[in-house]
C-alpha cells in the first residue's frame, strides 16, 4: 500500500526519487579498449565532424575550415567559412553540406555556395549534424532553439527539448520540419529500409521519425547519443559522446542546486557530462574514479567516456568500441566508414582514429566462437 501510494506521489511530481538508475554497459556494450588501441590518424584541436565524399575522399570539419584528409595523414584546407563549422555531410554529386551553427551552406569545394537558415519560417539555431540521403535530400539536426551548439551543456541543464529534424530538398530549395520537440537532436540517418532515425541526446534514445512523430527504436541508452553514420553491410554506427551517471541524473532532478550551479560555476566545472576530463583539478571527480594503488579504476562511473556502437538493421547492438575512464579517446561525436577503415572522431582528445572493421569483427567473432 505504501509502495503504491509513494509511486503515485512520485509520478505526480515526475520524480523517480531514490530509485534513480542508469543502464549499464553490458552485453554488446561490454567495455573494451579498442578505441585506445586504434591508430591515430590526425591530432588537431577543434576538429568537429567527418564525412566521406562521393569521390571517396575524407573531409574533416575543423574550426572555421573544411579540410581534406590526405593519404599521408595531413589535413589540407578546401574551404574557409566565416563561422565555426558545426556539421558536415557529402552529397552524391560531390557537393559538401556545411553546418555553420545557425545556417547550412552547400556547394562543391571552391564553387559558389548556396544555403538556407530557416525551415517552416523558423530560424535554424544549432545545426549539429547533417546527413545526405540516397534520394538526394539533406537531413539537418537543429539541436536547440534556445542555445547555440557551443552551449550544449546549458541545454542539458535546462532540460531543453526544442530540437528538430529538418529535411532540405536541394532541388527545390525548400526546408521542412520532419520532427520537432526533440530533446537535443544530434544525429540523423536514413537507413536502407528508408527509415529516418534521429538521436535524441537528452532522452538517451534513437527515434524513428515518421509522419512528423518521433518514436524511440533504441531506448534507454547508457550514454548521450550523438551523430550516426552508415555501416557497410547494413545497420549503422552510433556515437555516444559521454556516459550517463546517477550523479548527473540526480542533479537534473535537483532544480535549485542546478540553477545555482549554472549561476555561480563555470560550465566546464559543472556536474555534467564532459567531452574530456582529468585535465584540471577543479573538475568534479570522475565519480568513483578513485585511484587505488596508483591506478585509476577503468570501470569507474565516468564523467567523460568514448563509445561507438554498431547496430544491425533491427536496431539491436552487435558490438561496441570503447575508451574507458582511464582512456584517452573520449567525447566521440562522429564516425565514418570507408571500406574496411572506420574513422572515429574523438572531440575530447582532438584526434581522428582509424580501426579495421574486419579486425574488430574477427575479434568479436572469436569471442562468440563463430
Amino acid at each position: 500500500m505504501f509502495d503504491a501510494l509513494a509511486s503515485a506521489v512520485s509520478s505526480i511530481f515526475n520524480r523517480r526519487g531514490s530509485s534513480l538508475s542508469v543502464p549499464i554497459l553490458d552485453g554488446a556494450l561490454k567495455p573494451n579498449n579498442l578505441l585506445d588501441e586504434a591508430s591515430i590518424v590526425v591530432e588537431k584541436d577543434g576538429i568537429e565532424d567527418i564525412a566521406i565524399g562521393s569521390d571517396g575522399e575524407i573531409y574533416v570539419a575543423c574550426g572555421n575550415a573544411v579540410m581534406r584528409l590526405a593519404a599521408s595523414g595531413e589535413l589540407e584546407q578546401v574551404a574557409q567559412h566565416e563561422h565555426a563549422v558545426t556539421a558536415l555531410a557529402a552529397l552524391g554529386d560531390g557537393t559538401l553540406a556545411v553546418g555553420l551553427g545557425a545556417k547550412v551552406v552547400l556547394g562543391k569545394p571552391g564553387d559558389q555556395q548556396v544555403g538556407f537558415d530557416q525551415a517552416d519560417g523558423r530560424k535554424l539555431n544549432a545545426v549539429t549534424a547533417l546527413h545526405a540521403t540516397a534520394d538526394g535530400a539533406l537531413l539537418v539536426c537543429d539541436a536547440s532553439a534556445t542555445r547555440s551548439y557551443g552551449e550544449w551543456n546549458y541545454d542539458l541543464m535546462e532540460k531543453g527539448h526544442t530540437g528538430r529534424l529538418v529535411r532540405y530538398d536541394p532541388v527545390s530549395g525548400t526546408a521542412t520540419t520532419a520532427a520537432s520537440g526533440l530533446a537535443y537532436a544530434f544525429g540523423a540517418f536514413k537507413d536502407r529500409q528508408g527509415r529516418i532515425l534521429v538521436s535524441e541526446t537528452w532522452r538517451h534514445q534513437v527515434d524513428h521519425v515518421k509522419d512528423g512523430h518521433a518514436s524511440p527504436v533504441v531506448p534507454a541508452l547508457p550514454g548521450y547519443p550523438a551523430r550516426i553514420a552508415a555501416a557497410e553491410g547494413g545497420g549503422f554506427w552510433l556515437t555516444l559522446f559521454a556516459c550517463r551517471t546517477q550523479l548527473v541524473e540526480f542533479v537534473l532532478q535537483e532544480n535549485d542546486y542546478r540553477h545555482e550551479m549554472m549561476r555561480t560555476i563555470e560550465p566546464r566545472y559543472w556536474v555534467a557530462p564532459a567531452l574530456r576530463s582529468g585535465v584540471d583539478f577543479r573538475e568534479p571527480l570522475q565519480t568513483g574514479g578513485v585511484k587505488q594503488m596508483g591506478i585509476l579504476k577503468p570501470w569507474a562511473p565516468p564523467r567523460s567516456y568514448g563509445l561507438v556502437v554498431r547496430f544491425n538493421d533491427d536496431f539491436i547492438p552487435i558490438y561496441s568500441l570503447h575508451s574507458r575512464v582511464g582512456g584517452r579517446h573520449h567525447g566521440i561525436v562522429a564516425v565514418a566508414q570507408r571500406g574496411d577503415d572506420l574513422y572515429v572522431l574523438s572531440k575530447g582528445a582532438g584526434r581522428i582514429l582509424r580501426l579495421s572493421v574486419a579486425q574488430v569483427e574477427a575479434q568479436e567473432a572469436a569471442e562468440s566462437g563463430e
Binding site: 505504501f2 509502495d3 531514490s18 534513480l20 542508469v22 543502464p23 553490458d26 534507454a220 539491436i316 562468440s368
Partner: protein
C-alpha cells in the same frame, strides 16, 4: 573387519514398485562409504530405512552384529545413527543454537549459555554461522552447515550425509572434507551420497552404486574412475562426459528483455545491474551469498527490493515492481526455484494437478473454471515432453525422484509460456541422466528465442550452458565473460577477489 552396519535383502515397495530391491550392504567402522546412483536409483530410500524414517517392506538391518528394527528416527538416533537430510529438516522459526540443542535441552536453559556453546561448537567445525540467527533467515548453505553440525553434536557412530556439499562454497567444502576426515579418525562411519562424482572419488574408502533400486557394484574407491562410476550408474556409456567439452559457439544476443539497474535488497544485493537478452542463456556464477538468487527473486516478485535506493527493474523497457509473484507470471516471468521442496510444488498433489495450478495462475478470470479434461491433456503433454518418469500418471510429486521432481517444477513454469525463464541451481541434487535432459530444455528454450537465465555454483555447468557469463560477488555483478575465453580459474578469481 566386522561391519558396524549390515543390510540383508533390504526391500522397500511403493505402489507395487520396488524403490529398493533386495539390497545387501555393509558399512565398516571408521569407513567413508559413498553411495552413488541416478535420481530414482533408491539411495535416499535406502538411507531413510537406515535412519528409521522409512520402514522396510522386507529384509533385515544389523547394527554392531545385532538385528535392529527401527520404527522412528528417534530410535535410530538412540542407536547412534544420524542422518543429515538433503533438504533441511530444521525448525526455521528457531535460532541456530536452539536447533542445535533441540531435543537435548537442559531443564533450565540460559539463552546466553546456549548461544555460547553453539558458537564454540560451530567454530570447532570452522562453520561461520551466527548461532543467534533464525534458521529461516539463513541461506541454503548455512542451513546445511547447521544440519551437519547437529549430526556431529549427537555423537553418532554412523552419520548419513545426503548431498551435503550441494550448497557449499569450495572453501566450505574444504572444511567439510576435513570434518569427514576428523570423524573418520574418531571411528565414526560415514555414508556419503553425492552427485559430484569427484567428491566421492576424493573422500570415500569404498563406493556402492545403485541402479533402479538394485545394488550394481560395491568396491574399493581406488578401483573406480569417473567412467566406471558413470557406466555403473546409468547402465550405458555416455557418448561423452557431460562436461567434457568446452563451448565453441555462442548464440547472438537478441533484444534486451530484462534490465536491472542499481538494485538493492537489504545488505544482500548492493547496487546490482545487469541485462538479459532474448535468444541467449545468460549464466550467473557466484559463490553462495553473492546475491544472485535474491536479485532474481526480486525480478520474479518473490521478494521486494528496497523502496528507498532500491534501484529499478525493466521488463521489455517498462519499469516493473512486483510485490507478489502473480503479476510477474502474468508478464511472462518464470522463476524455477533452487529450493524445489519448499517453493517448487505442492508435494501431495499429482504432477498434472501441479501443472494445472500453474496454468491457472496465468489464466486470469478463467482460473475459477477447472476442466479435468484439459488438466489431463496438459499433464500428459508435459510428462511426455520432459520425460518425467513416474510409477503412475497420477503419482504425487513427493513420490518422484529428485531429478523428476525438478522436471516437474520446470514443466510447471513452462506451461505458463514464459518469455523470461530463470533457472536457479537447476541441477542441484539431480542425477547425471536428468542433468543432460535439463540442459537440453534450457538450450531448447534459448533456441526458441526465449531469454534464459541460469544461476549455478557449478562451474562446468555454467560454462557449458551459458552464452554470456556474469560473475556476482558481494551483492552485484562484477564481471562479464564470453564462455569462449572464460576459464574456471578466471571465473573463480572474479567471484572471490
Amino acid at each position: 573387519m566386522k561391519p558396524i552396519l549390515e543390510l540383508r535383502g533390504l526391500t522397500k515397495i511403493y505402489a507395487r514398485s520396488a524403490a529398493v530391491d533386495a539390497v545387501d550392504f555393509a558399512l565398516l567402522p571408521g569407513e567413508v562409504h559413498a553411495l552413488l546412483g541416478e535420481n530414482g536409483a533408491g539411495k535416499s530410500t535406502l538411507t531413510k530405512m537406515i535412519a528409521g524414517v522409512v520402514t522396510p517392506t522386507r529384509g533385515k538391518i544389523f547394527f554392531d552384529g545385532k538385528e535392529i528394527n527401527l520404527r522412528a528416527p528417534s530410535e535410530a538416533v538412540s542407536a547412534g545413527i544420524a542422518m543429515v537430510f538433503q533438504e533441511t529438516s530444521l525448525v526455521s522459526s528457531m535460532t541456530v543454537a536452539q536447533n542445535l540443542f533441540l531435543g537435548n535441552e537442559k531443564f533450565f536453559n540460559r539463552v546466553r549459555g546456549t548461544n555460547i556453546a553453539a558458537q564454540q561448537f560451530m567454530q570447532s567445525l570452522s562453520f561461520d554461522v551466527d548461532p543467534t540467527a533464525h534458521v529461516g533467515s539463513l541461506g541454503a548453505a548455512k542451513k546445511q552447515m547447521v544440519e551437519i553440525a547437529r549430526a556431529v553434536l549427537l555423537k553418532a557412530r554412523i552419520i548419513v550425509f545426503d548431498e551435503p556439499t550441494a550448497t557449499l562454497t569450495p572453501e566450505e567444502k574444504g572444511h567439510f572434507f576435513e570434518l569427514v576426515a576428523t570423524l573418520k579418525a574418531r571411528g565414526v562411519s560415514v555414508i556419503f551420497i553425492s552427485h559430484a562424482l569427484e567428491e566421492a572419488l576424493q573422500i570415500s574408502d569404498r563406493i556402492t552404486v545403485l541402479r533402479d533400486g538394485k545394488l550394481v557394484v560395491t568396491d574399493l574407491t581406488s578401483t573406480f574412475d569417473r567412467a566406471r562410476i558413470v557406466q555403473a550408474m546409468v547402465g550405458r556409456t555416455l557418448s561423452h562426459e557431460l562436461y567434457g567439452t568446452k563451448k565453441t559457439r555462442v548464440r547472438p544476443a537478441g533484444r534486451r528483455v530484462l534490465r536491472i539497474s542499481n538494485l538493492r535488497v537489504g545488505n544482500v544485493v548492493k547496487n546490482n545491474s545487469l541485462s538479459v537478452f532474448a535468444g541467449q542463456i545468460t549464466g550467473i556464477f557466484g559463490l553462495v551469498g553473492s546475491g544472485r538468487t535474491e536479485t532474481f527473486k526480486v525480478v520474479s516478485g518473490v521478494i521486494k527490493r528496497d523502496y528507498t535506493n532500491g534501484g529499478e527493474v525493466f521488463l521489455n523497457g517498462k519499469a516493473v515492481r512486483y510485490r507478489v509473484p502473480a503479476p510477474a507470471v502474468q508478464d511472462g516471468i518464470a522463476y524455477i526455484t533452487e529450493d524445489r521442496k519448499i517453493e517448487g510444488f505442492f508435494e501431495t498433489m499429482s504432477i498434472k494437478l501441479n501443472l494445472y495450478v500453474a496454468r491457472l495462475a496465468k489464466a486470469g478470470l478463467r482460473k475459477f473454471w477447472i476442466r479435468n479434461r484439459e488438466m489431463d491433456a496438459l499433464g500428459e503433454k508435459w510428462i511426455n515432453s520432459l520425460q518425467v518418469r513416474a510409477v503412475t500418471r497420477s503419482a504425487r510429486v513427493i513420490e518422484l525422484s529428485g531429478g523428476n521432481q525438478q522436471k516437474a517444477v520446470i514443466a510447471k513454469s513452462l506451461v505458463q509460456d514464459p518469455e523470461l525463464i530463470i533457472f536457479d541451481e537447476p541441477t542441484r541434487g539431480v542425477d547425471v541422466g536428468a542433468i543432460a535432459e535439463i540442459h537440453q530444455i534450457a538450450n531448447r528454450l534459448a533456441d526458441e528465442g526465449k531469454a534464459v537465465v541460469v544461476i549455478s555454483s557449478y562451474l562446468p555447468e555454467i560454462m557449458l550452458l551459458s552464452d554470456r557469463l556474469l560473475v556476482a560477488r558481494q551483492g552485484k555483478i562484477v564481471e562479464e565473460f564470453s564462455p569462449i575465453d572464460a576459464t574456471e580459474e578466471k571465473l573463480m578469481y572474479a567471484a572471490v577477489h
